[in-house]
């Protein structure tokens, strides 16, 4: 049986506002994440200048 226009209507869902936490300090790539070998020691961290581990 063919659907009527009325049948195809989706149920109304009231819009709602949801807040999501943003972490700009992480999102802008401001800090190196590899905290395991900070400094020029090498190890698994490939940064020779890593003094800025954060986030």
């Amino acid at each position: 049986m063919e659907q009527t226009r009325e049948d195809k209507k989706k149920p109304y869902i009231k819009p709602e506002v949801t807040r999501f936490p943003l972490r700009p300090e992480e999102a802008v790539l401001g800090f190196c994440k590899s905290t395991s070998a900070a400094g020029p020691s090498g190890g698994t961290c490939r940064s020779t200048l890593c003094q800025t581990a954060g986030s």
Binding site: T18, F20, P21, L22, R23, E25, E26, A27, V28, L29, G30, F31, C32, K33, S34, T35, S36, G42, G43, T44, C45, R46, S47, T48, L49, C50, Q51, T52, G54, S55
Partner: protein, 283 residues
């Protein structure tokens, strides 16, 4: 000699650097990757780097700043170890294909953080690709993405899956790309605390938003695409300095959320979490 790296399906060629490539980036290195890389980087060692003459476009408030530079862009990288003068500065062509890097520090790899990540992210933004703060796992050929900010459980997740047959492509940052209608997931060298990464790739089958509110039981709640897209955006690294690319990232994430099932995952910190996800995938 030129060196080639392939990250997230993007080939980077590096010329003029004799710095030893060590650590995670070495896993992404290869010979003869492409006659013409997507991004060609030319490095030069210098003693001084002049102050930028162009307008400041973006300040990360930490280790890098972006400036206008005539008809190109300039990225200056700073470290407290080297005072006010940038320790390296990159001139980036508008199409991102040519990058001239001047480095003041002997033996410094020109591609080293944050430049590698900034370039790859910028290249992907208009090409339906995005880097996500997430743990990526390939299990039985299927790509699974566990997204979350710091402290949400990415490292914990990586360790839970580490002892099985699954391949962990990163415990912290994963690239996702739409490749001719197939969403692919790529490992990156940018690992987290667990220091796990690989150059593996796989079709993306599921995205789980890590939920640490209930750490005692396993459960998944499907998310509607709008909420899923917002959650993805909160875990992305968008180019805030470029309104056009910012919009493209939002479009990409919206399409991703509409194409790949996204669910909120609560999980117990034990092997039952792995079994639960496998069961959920098989259902």
């Amino acid at each position: 000699m030129d060196r080639f790296f392939r990250i997230g399906g993007v080939t980077l060629g590096v010329r003029g650097s004799d710095a030893e490539v060590t650590g995670p980036l070495a896993k992404f290195m290869g010979d003869g990757l492409a006659a013409r890389p997507d991004i060609q980087i030319t490095a030069n060692h210098v003693h001084e780097i002049e102050p930028p003459s162009g307008r400041l476009l973006f300040d990360s408030a930490a280790v890098w700043k972006l400036y206008e530079d005539a008809d190109a862009h300039r990225i200056d990288c700073h470290s407290p170890l080297f005072g006010d003068m940038p320790y390296k500065s990159a001139r980036v062509s508008p199409d991102l294909r040519a990058v001239d890097v001047r480095v003041r520090v002997a033996g410094h790899d020109p591609l080293e953080f944050p430049l590698d990540e900034l370039l790859v992210n910028a290249y992907l933004a208009p090409r339906r690709g995005v880097e996500l703060h997430s743990c990526g796992i390939i299990d039985g050929g299927q790509g699974l993405l566990f997204i979350g900010n710091s402290g949400d459980g990415k490292t914990t997740t990586a360790r839970l899956w580490q002892n099985g047959p699954a391949e962990i492509v990163s415990d912290d940052r994963v690239i996702v790309r739409d490749e001719d209608g197939v969403w692919m997931m790529y490992g990156t060298p940018w690992h987290g605390e667990a220091e796990i990464c690989s150059a593996g790739r796989a079709p993306l089958r599921r995205i789980y938003v890590l939920d640490k509110s209930s750490r005692s039981r396993n459960g998944v709640t499907p998310l509607r695409p709008a909420e899923a897209a917002a959650r993805l955006f909160a875990c992305a690294f968008p180019p805030f300095h470029d309104a056009g690319d910012l919009g493209r990232i939002v479009d990409t994430l919206g399409d991703l959320a509409a194409s790949v099932p996204v669910g909120r995952l609560s999980f117990a910190n034990d092997p039952t979490a792995v079994a639960f996800v496998r069961q959920e995938l098989a259902a």
